[in-house]
Amino acid sequence: MSGLSNNPRSAENLGSEDGRASAPVRPWWLGVGIIAMGAIWLYGAVSLPQTAQYAAIGPGLFVTLIGLALVILGGFLLWQIAHGEEFAAQDSEDAMAGAPADWTAFLTAVVAAGLPLLTMRTLGFPVTAAISFALVARAFGSRRLLLDIVIGAVLSVVAYFGFSRLGVSLGDVVPILSR
């Protein structure tokens, strides 16, 4: 029934700019991923007591139920995918839902989101945030790298000291220098 309500929109998408044509997308890995996650939770539940003396259920039961539910739902999803379930990307301001993905832009943004993992503990918040800002700007089509870094640096420094004043600790300015 949900398919019914979606039909007009997806038909329209096919008609317009995207050209995501004939072959239905079959993202098997989605269902597999959900099942895998359920399996991890089930595995985590094994070492926990399922029952308790007084409360009848122990700390493990909820985890087991969630793991089971994820496995079953993942199975449902695979079944739907096998039957040609449609996955229309969500509408968003600024985004063309039907358009093919621009992988360069996407990966640039991924690097921006992942960069803190590498540099936050050594280079600190202001530097990391400035670089991430410039990377996101680049992913969104800006080609003025130097200007982007300067704007990012100003924003990061203002955010760093502004939030520090409000009592939010964002670590040392440049941790590697203060060690």
């Binding site: 996650m37 939770w41 969630i66 301001e93 993992l117 996101v136 990061s156």
Partner: protein, 507 residues
């Protein structure tokens, strides 16, 4: 304690200059994020949570309430002028409102939406004033099994109502529940699914998941499918203001929209999608000029916009009286209460009456402020859209980092941000709803606690769960809720199909 006296006392707190200041900040910030793409009320409140250490709880919640209401006003502005409904609640407003704007009646549509929001917000707040204490009174006698049943109902409704597929709705819900069990079990003190990481013992904060799903996920998603259109602001906002005829045609839809929006918003199912669809369908049926629908009927702006705002006030009823969040924004509001060591629910009205009533009084104040901020200044707000997108989304990521890193400067938090952000991207591409994740995450541990308490009291007998008539009927409703999508798709089709073919193509 009578509601009126308490409310007057609330006003005496909300009208203090410092609280008026926070209400103003909240309203302005809310309108801004309502207008801006990529950032909404839930994300804004989540990013401001760390600041709560510096502000008194009353002031903080007055600000948050301003953000909640303000985002509704801002959202209707962009739907009317640019046909970009920021959230599902303003989809119907965009339908007729944008047509009006294209026909040179943008100013009338904007005024109708703003005044409708004001009327609905005020009436709904009035309803909240009298309904909330009454419900809180009833909630005193709720046992753990009743709460558990209520939460199960909330889970199924949220999973079923939000998004387009029940399977994906439930997957989203269970992802949230799964993240919710990570950390130390509150009852036995055993570590669950921490994968040997001491940082995970405290569990995963709602803020991290919310910020990652909304800010990081949205940034990745929009980056990959960026519509690089040059910023164009309102060629459409001009035209005549509301005529006497417009007033006459809008007045009843405002009231009907409020009557539809508030009760549905107050249900555990919550959300603003159903009431706006419903209001739109009702207005088209009752209109003397049904042929105008799809071509800019002012009733189609007035009704849904009122319903949207009334529903926003409605979600505060279960949140304040039962501690039950029914939307992403109310989930983060619940987290804010917990930050202050407060647990919303019947006892909140007793233990923190000042806070609750100041919050409710501030909703009246905020509505007046928002009307003043939005009616004459709408041109100013729309200018926010001129911010170049590369800088807007860059800034969103920087603030996301502040929100996540500022929590406890933990590397594991950054890892969570990265992974959950990627998940947020995938969920957008494959159309999984986001809100159920957050509801599951924050409500899951509470539901588990109630379940274990109920069973402990019942000495392990599972029949305890249906032992009270209330719990039994709530669980029955939860099963019935599975049928909601049928109703929803009917409503949707009724609302979308009939007026002049398919109005969505106009985008």
């Amino acid at each position: 304690m009578d509601a009126l006296g308490s409310l007057l006392h609330g006003f005496s707190i909300a009208l203090q200059p410092i609280n008026l200041f926070w209400a103003f900040i909240g309203s302005a910030l809310g309108t801004a994020v309502g207008v801006l793409p990529g950032i909404g009320p839930a994300l804004t409140i989540a990013l401001l949570l760390p600041v709560t250490t510096q502000i008194a709880p009353t002031s903080a919640f007055i600000m948050f309430a301003g953000i909640l209401y303000g985002a509704m006003y801002g959202g209707s502005t962009t739907s009317i002028l640019l046909n970009t409904p920021g959230e599902s609640g303003s989809m119907m407003t965009a339908l007729e409102g944008n047509k009006m704007a294209r026909a040179g009646r943008g100013a009338a549509a904007l005024a109708c939406a703003a005044i409708g929001s004001f009327v609905a917000g005020t009436i709904a707040t009035l309803a909240l004033t009298f309904a909330a204490p009454a419900i809180a009174e009833i909630a005193f006698i709720f046992g753990p099994e009743d709460y558990f049943a209520l939460m199960v109902l909330s889970f199924t409704c949220v999973a079923v109502v939000m998004g387009s597929s029940r399977v994906r709705g439930f997957i989203a819900l269970f992802l949230g529940l799964a993240l919710g069990v990570i950390g130390i079990d509150g009852t036995t003190g055993q570590a669950r699914l921490t994968f040997g990481s001491p940082e995970l013992l405290d569990g995963i904060e709602l803020t991290i998941v919310l910020v990652s799903l909304f800010a990081v996920g949205e940034t990745l998603y929009v980056a990959s499918r960026f519509r690089n259109a040059p910023a164009q602001i309102n060629p459409l906002s001009g035209g005549v203001w509301m005529t006497r005829e417009d007033w006459r045609r809008s007045f009843k839809p405002w009231l009907r929209g409020t009557a539809i929006g508030f009760p549905i918003g107050a249900l555990p199912a919550g959300g603003s999608e159903i009431p706006t669809f419903l209001s739109y369908a009702v207005e088209r049926r009752l209109s003397k000029r049904p042929e105008e629908f799809g071509h800019g009927a002012i009733e189609g702006v007035a009704g849904p916009e009122a319903a949207n705002n009334a529903a926003a006030a409605g979600i505060l009823v279960p949140l304040l009286t039962l501690g039950l969040p029914t939307s992403a924004t109310s989930a983060v509001l619940l987290a804010a209460f917990q930050n202050y060591g407060l647990q919303p629910g019947p006892f909140l009205f007793v233990s923190n009456g000042d806070l609750v009533w100041a919050l409710i009084a501030s909703l009246y104040v905020g509505n007046v402020m928002l009307l003043i901020l939005n009616l004459p200044l709408v041109g100013l707000w729309v200018r926010l859209l001129l911010i170049p997108r590369p800088y807007l989304y860059g800034g969103i990521l920087v603030f996301a980092m502040v929100g996540v890193w500022g929590l406890s400067t933990s590397w594991i938090d950054l890892l969570c941000m990265f992974l959950v952000g990627l998940a947020g991207y995938v969920m957008r591409v494959y159309d999984f709803p986001i809100a159920p994740v957050l509801i599951g995450l924050i409500l899951g541990p509470m539901a588990e606690k109630q379940l274990r308490q109920a069973l402990a009291i019942g000495q392990g007998d599972p029949l305890t769960l249906v032992s009270s008539p209330l719990a039994a009927s709530l669980l029955a409703l939860a099963v019935l809720a599975m049928l909601l999508p049928v109703l929803m798709s009917r409503l949707k089709r009724a609302a979308e199909d009939e007026p002049a073919g398919n109005p969505e193509t106009a985008a």
